[in-house]
Every structure is written in structure tokens, then in C-alpha cells.
Amino acid sequence: MTDSKSLSPLDLDTPDKTFLDANELVINMGPQHPATHGVLRVILRLDGEKVLGLECVIGYLHRGVEKIAENRTYTMFNPYVDRMDYVAAVSNGLGYCEAVEKLLSVEAPPRAQYIRVILTELNRIASHQLWLGTHALDIGAITPLFYTFRDREEILKIFEKYCGARLTTHAFRIGGLQYEAYDGFEKDVKTFCSFVKPKIDEYEELLTTNRIWLERTKGVGVISGKDCIALGVTGPVLRASGVKWDIRKALPYANYKNFDFEIPTGENGDTYDRYIVRMIEMRQSLRIIEQAVAGIPEGPIMAKVPKVMKPPVGEIYHSIEAPKGELGYFIVSDGSTQPYRIRVRPPSFVNLQALDVMCRGQLVADVIAVIGTLDIVLGEVDR
């Protein structure tokens, strides 16, 4: 990070070759930059304003989550996962809890499953709203940010009422839930659904047909479905490139197979398609939530899980469809109370690798748009 000599091929120490001598200019973007969504540092090699190549320097937010896991019990590690993708903490929790449940061979009771789905999908909407606001802000539209934050607030209020926390919720427990849904939970969720539907139309009204928005996003950061697969890119980015793949459908977890929803796909794999895909995803999430709220069964919310968890020796890989893509947990148990090794498969980290491919030949302004459209969270990239 400070040793700039090792940054070949983009060597910062060589003096700038400008315009008349050669066509290259090396620009350092970040880690303190308003549009890199945290502490991402991108070193750009430019020809005028055209990007010849770039290199991401990450790790500024590395906290050693995987190392911490090895020194905590399964239960104690649960809150830590919220701190990775902190805008979709509920999804992180779901993935972790389900992975450990699989390792323990227990299953959360149906009522818990329903509430989990509701909260996770609410969190997906919140994450997409935050993405939309900041992405639009990067492209220069400042107003959507305030609209999305206003509406995201309603989701956070539901989280707060449910478990007392707004951002890093720690909503789920291994084996089910700790808290029963509060009185009026269902009403709140229903009210939210009817409240947010016209709001999503409002965002679209502001952007979807806006000429400048179209010019800024169409044909920008194009990536083909084949490249996506080779680069391991998942989530809305993959779907916008035309690959109809969603873990909720392909390898259903929780009780997603009970719900009726569609997987939106794009055609061109450009920034605009990714925008459209995420907008439709928000609507589909609402659909799932409405079905789930209508069908919450009565019953216990916690399965029988031993107080001291000692999963049998073995390994498990379990992944879920987080708002950003495939979020996987690879857990190795040695039979003790502490996991022997937890590996998190972070969607943001893998997706960020595609930045170089997507930005080559584009302009500096497009780099900003592409970073925004990848929807990365540095907490998850660096862990």
C-alpha cells in the first residue's frame, strides 16, 4: 500500500509522460475518493481520458474476519458476519446460520423460515435502494439518493422494531430465531409493500427514460455472460449479461421453493441492464414478501439446538443469493466448539475483479459508473 515500487506494471514513480511525449497518464483514485464507495483504491492508466488499464488495490478495511472465526465459538461468530456486507447484514446472517445448521444437521422450523425470508428480502430491497442512490449520485443525479434513503428508512425501522438494530442486525440465530415477530409485524410489512411500490415507480420515472441517464449507462461497462462466468461474477451483474441464474431458484435454500417469483435478465450486459435488473429484482422481492407474509404459519421459531454446539467433524459449503451475488460459507469443523476454518466466498470481492475487463477502453467517468454498477461493499471485499 505504501510501497509504491511494487505496483508494476503501473509504476507511480516514473514521471508523468504527457501528451506530447507519450499518451499515458497514471492517476491514483482513492482510497479517499468520493466515488469509490469506501476505501477502494484504483490506479488508472489513461490515454487522455481513455482507460488503458487499471489495478485495484484493496485491503484497507481488512479485519481478518476468517481468523477471528477460528478463535470464536459458532454462536459468538454470528454477529461478525454482519460486519462484512454491512448494507445487507441480514443476508450474511442467513447464509452463516444455514451453513452451520447444515453442519449440525438441524433445520429451522417453518415459521422461522418465513420470517427469515421476509427479513432477507426486505434487506435485499434496502441494499438495492442504497445501491441505486449512490450509483445515481456517482453519475451526477443527486436527487434519487434522498428518495431511496427515505424509503430505506422504513425497512430499517422494521428491523429496529424486530431486533433492536438497524444496520448490523444479527437477526437470526443458528437453528432459527431468537425473537418472535413483534405485534403488528405483518401489518408493518404489508404497509411497507404498498408504500414502496409507487416509490420504485418514482425512481424509475426519474431515471429510466432520462436521456442523460441512458447515454451514461447504455453500452457502458459491457461484459458478456461468458466473461461473467469465467470471472466468477454472480448476482445481478451475471443476470444482466443474460445468464438466468439465481441460487434461490437453482439450488433453493431456506424455503424459497415455496414462493413464486421471476428472475429478471438483461440482454446487453451494460450498466443500464444492470440497473433495470435490480429495479425488477426489487419488485420481485416485494412479491416474495407479500406471499411470505400471507403464509406465515404458526409454530415454534427455534429448532432443538444444543446449548454448546459441537458439530461433527466435516466440511460444508453453503451459499445463498445475497443482493450482490453468491455469498458462500465454507466451514471446516474439527468437532470442537470453535470452527476449525471458515472461508467466506465474498461476492463483492470476486465481482470487483471484473472491473478491469469492464473498464478497458472506456472513459474515466465510466470507471465511476462501473464501480457503482458492480455494487461492491468494501467491508465484504476486504473482510
Binding site: P15, T18, F19, L20, D21
Partner: protein, 187 residues
């Protein structure tokens, strides 16, 4: 109506003239003595603006306005544009006056001689009969200056500069195309 409002009080001509002329000369000297090209360009802009002021004093507001728009606002911006993109540090180390000083002195001398010649001709004109500007370009009042120039350039009776004017613009077009061809190998 108060008579003092309608009559034009004399402008402090000589005072302003010498002041502006001094600025021009200082600016000109700075242009050729500064090592930093951006400083030189800024000095040149000062000189050009002072020149525009001189035009104004000659009751030629149109020329002054064009001077500001074209030279100070347009050409000098492009100058600065280019200067900023080349490495200033290296230029600073180069020798200030290069080997063309002989030609420079000859050219400056020739220009000076021309000025002196014109000056003496015009002063003789005031008393005598010789003129170098037969059209009498100062016959338009200040308020009609722009219209006067237009008439001189384009109208059929007064001027025959129309063709020359258009040729000049064509020449500039050729220069632009040439620059594009030279700069871009592939268009």
C-alpha cells in the same frame, strides 16, 4: 436637462495612454524574459488586454471587443492548454535565448523601421496632402463604429474587402484541417 450630462467630457487621454502603454511594454518584456511558459502566457494576456484598451481609446470598440474575444479569450486559452500539457520543468532549464537571435534582431529592426516610416508619413499628412488611408476610416461616430466596419467590409459601394475577407477565413479552414491531419493518424 442639465447640459453637463449631454456633453462628453474629455477623457484623460494622455494619462491613460501612457499608463496603458507602460503596461503593454512591461507585459511584452515579461513575455520574453520569464522562464516559466505559463507566466509568459499570462504576461502576454495582459499585453493583449492593454492593447484592447488602446483600441477603445481610439474609438474602435468593435476591434477592442474582437481582440478580447479572439486573442485573450480564445487563442490564449489554447496556448495555455498546450503549455500546461508539456513538461514545464524541462523547459525551465533550457537556454533563454536560442541561436535565432540574429534573425530576431533583424526582424525587430525592420518592424521598427516600418513603424517610424508610417509615423512620419501620417504626421506629414496632418499638414500636407499625402495620405495612406484614403477612405478616411475615422469618419464614423463612436456609436456607429460597428456598423461602419460592416459597411466597409461588406457593402457594395464602400468596400471591396469582401473577397479578401472570405479568402482569409478559407485559409484558416485549411490550417485547421492540416492540424487535424497532422495530429491524428487515424481519423
Amino acid at each position: 436637462m442639465n447640459p453637463s450630462l449631454t456633453q462628453n467630457p474629455p477623457v484623460a487621454t494622455s494619462f491613460f495612454f501612457y499608463g496603458i502603454a507602460a503596461i503593454m511594454i512591461i507585459g511584452g518584456i515579461l513575455v520574453i524574459t520569464r522562464k516559466n511558459a505559463v507566466h509568459s502566457a499570462l504576461a502576454l494576456i495582459t499585453t493583449l488586454l492593454a492593447q484592447a484598451a488602446l483600441y477603445l481609446m481610439l474609438y474602435a470598440p468593435f476591434v477592442a471587443g474582437v481582440q478580447i474575444i479572439l486573442y485573450a479569450g480564445g487563442i490564449m486559452v489554447l496556448f495555455l492548454f498546450v503549455i500546461m500539457l508539456i513538461a514545464i520543468e524541462r523547459n525551465m532549464k533550457e537556454r533563454q535565448f536560442n541561436k535565432q537571435w540574429l534573425i530576431g534582431i533583424v526582424a525587430a529592426g525592420a518592424l521598427g523601421g516600418l513603424f517610424i516610416a508610417v509615423y512620419t508619413t501620417v504626421t506629414r499628412t496632418a499638414s500636407g496632402s499625402k495620405t495612406i488611408f484614403p477612405l478616411g476610416s475615422s469618419s464614423y461616430a463612436e456609436g456607429q463604429n460597428t456598423q461602419g466596419i460592416a459597411a466597409l467590409l461588406f457593402s457594395q459601394q464602400a468596400g471591396t474587402y469582401m473577397f479578401a475577407f472570405e479568402i482569409a477565413s478559407l485559409l484558416l479552414l485549411v490550417a485547421i484541417i492540416g492540424a487535424v491531419v497532422m495530429a491524428k493518424k487515424r481519423i
